[in-house]
């Protein structure tokens, strides 16, 4: 598979892209009201607190939506592949766009349980999911 288009890693998002180094998934959370802030931002959109910090979250969730991509948008793609939005267990108001990977990935359906796995490329740990 082609190299992933690389996100710009800034001081606020670095923890997110490196969390997989320790094998866990972390999201930014408001420490005053508990709102999850993803993609990361430096102020809580619910209570305007600036006391925001990464917290470990369950690496499990369910598939909220998905698409199987068949189109070669760039060279080097292994077609087809699954892009999905995953709702994490215990995390309200956030969906993660990701890839469903593994031998049985193409059979995945909305509502299926999934668990996180990481793929490291050049210092970024991309959170991907496989069927649980």
């Amino acid at each position: 598979m082609a190299t992933r288009p690389r996100p710009i890693v800034d001081p606020l998002s670095r923890f997110y892209w490196e969390a997989g180094k320790e094998g866990g998934l972390k999201l930014l959370r408001c420490q005053d009201c508990g709102t999850w802030l993803h993609p990361p931002r430096p102020v809580c959109s619910h209570c305007l607190s600036e006391d925001v910090a990464p917290e470990a979250v369950a690496g499990t969730g369910t598939v909220y939506s998905l698409t199987v991509n068949h189109q070669a948008w760039m060279p080097g793609l292994d077609l087809p592949y699954v892009i999905a939005r995953v709702a994490l267990d215990g995390v309200d108001g956030v969906l993660l766009t990701t890839n469903i990977v593994g031998d049985d990935a193409l059979g995945v359906a909305i509502g299926d349980p999934v668990r996180v796995t990481f793929e490291e490329q050049d210092g970024i740990w991309y959170p991907l999911f496989e069927r649980a």
Partner: protein, 388 residues
């Protein structure tokens, strides 16, 4: 609310439209401006304002190859107002800016253009040497790295969720493309002029499930121009002025293509009816964004032609949206058949239909009210156009 002082569309124009038009972007733009001036009965000397979305876009020149200043310079215009900007609710942002400028008295006749050269850029990317960017930033940093490289992938996930929640089917969604191709067959400027059947649709190559080839629009080289003018100039024009009765826009929270936020078309659709004396029952015709067919389904729901979730059943069989139906849409073939003129083509077609000047694609009815919607995901503006 509806008022005789509402700014008007005095003229519409368009360049050649094709997958590859061998003409510089600035010249395409000037072709469209000349066509629109002729349509309005105005001359270059009458133009005192210029607007565009997104203006010149250095990081994606094929999306925004011509800046307002280049048009002003090339035509020797002496303007009292201009604006080219991308941070607005959708492509119609340029039209909304022009309406504001007319209302403020900053100009009387504003050329508003949308030029794209995405067709050429696909064939000859070296013609459009866009500025290199460092990596994926903002909300897209959490989408693109998962090889979600096209808006087809983003829209497909809204579609598959709609299918899951409401039982929407490909047979229902397919009516958008079938209708577009049927109308495109009548339009001599359309890129695709062959109708398709439901069988063609169902057996088409999948792009990003559930969206197949026919659910996607086609890239074009084109320029489309809308001239927005002050209401009091109406009596001097060559053609019937079309009043811009209402423009609505919304961004309900985050600018996002994947977070659990209501797609912006829904609040935009509700808002439109708060800004006008008309209601959805008064609408004669619709020109609704079909960069992907599913966006059209969302616009039908968002504007209140059916309840949210009922879009698939509304489209069942395709009659309602057909030329003979209660709500004919995308009568020139939309972007699916006529090419991605990037939202401005809908406005041109709406104006031509309301004036009874749509030639081969004309719906044979007396029509007064047209609705247009542009954008998808977080991008969203709607416009109600009226022939008084």
């Amino acid at each position: 609310m509806s008022s005789k002082s509402d700014p008007i569309i005095s003229g519409v124009g368009q360049s050649a439209v094709g997958k590859f038009v061998d003409r510089a972007p600035l010249l395409l733009t000037i072709d469209a401006i000349k066509d629109a001036l002729d349509n309005a009965g105005l001359t270059i000397a009458d133009i005192d304002g210029v607007a565009s979305w997104p203006g010149r876009l250095e990081t994606a020149l094929e999306m925004g190859p011509v800046g307002c200043d280049e048009v002003i310079d090339a035509l020797g215009l002496k303007v009292t107002w201009y604006n080219g900007a991308i941070e607005t609710a959708a492509q119609f942002g340029a039209i909304a800016e022009a309406v504001s400028a007319i209302r403020s008295g900053w100009a009387r006749h504003i050329v508003v253009y949308r030029t794209v050269t995405q067709g050429s850029a696909r064939k000859k990317p070296e013609l459009f040497p866009s500025a290199k960017v460092q990596g994926v930033s903002g909300a897209m940093a959490h989408i693109i790295p998962y090889y979600a490289l096209s808006a087809a992938n983003w829209v497909a996930q809204y579609a598959s969720r709609h299918f899951h929640e409401y039982g929407t089917t490909r047979e229902q969604l397919g009516q958008i493309a079938i209708n577009a191709r049927r109308n495109g067959a009548l339009n001599p400027k359309a890129i695709f002029r062959e109708p398709i059947t439901l069988d063609d649709y169902m057996s088409a190559r999948m792009i990003s499930s559930p969206l197949c080839l026919f659910d996607c629009d086609t890239l074009s080289d084109s320029s489309t121009v809308i001239i927005v003018s002050a209401a009091e100039t109406g009596p001097d024009l060559k053609n019937v002025p079309i009043r811009i009765d209402a423009i609505s826009q919304a961004l309900p929270g985050r600018y996002t293509w994947d977070q659990p936020v209501e797609p912006a078309c829904y609040p935009t659709g509700r808002r439109l009816w708060e800004l006008t004396d008309y209601s959805v029952k008064d609408v004669d015709i619709g020109q609704l964004y079909d960069g992907f067919s599913f966006l059209t389904l969302q616009w039908i729901e968002a504007l209140g032609f059916c309840p949210v979730g009922e879009g698939g059943r509304y489209l069942e069989g395709g009659h309602r949206i057909s030329r003979e139906g209660e709500f004919p849409i995308n009568t020139n073939g939309g972007q699916i058949a006529a090419g991605r003129t990037h939202a401005f083509g809908y406005v041109r077609e709406a104006v031509r239909q309301l004036r009874g000047q749509a030639e081969e694609t004309q719906i044979d009815r007396d029509m007064k009210v047209a609705v247009t919607g542009a954008g998808g995901g977080p991008l969203s503006m709607a416009m109600l156009l009226v022939r008084d």
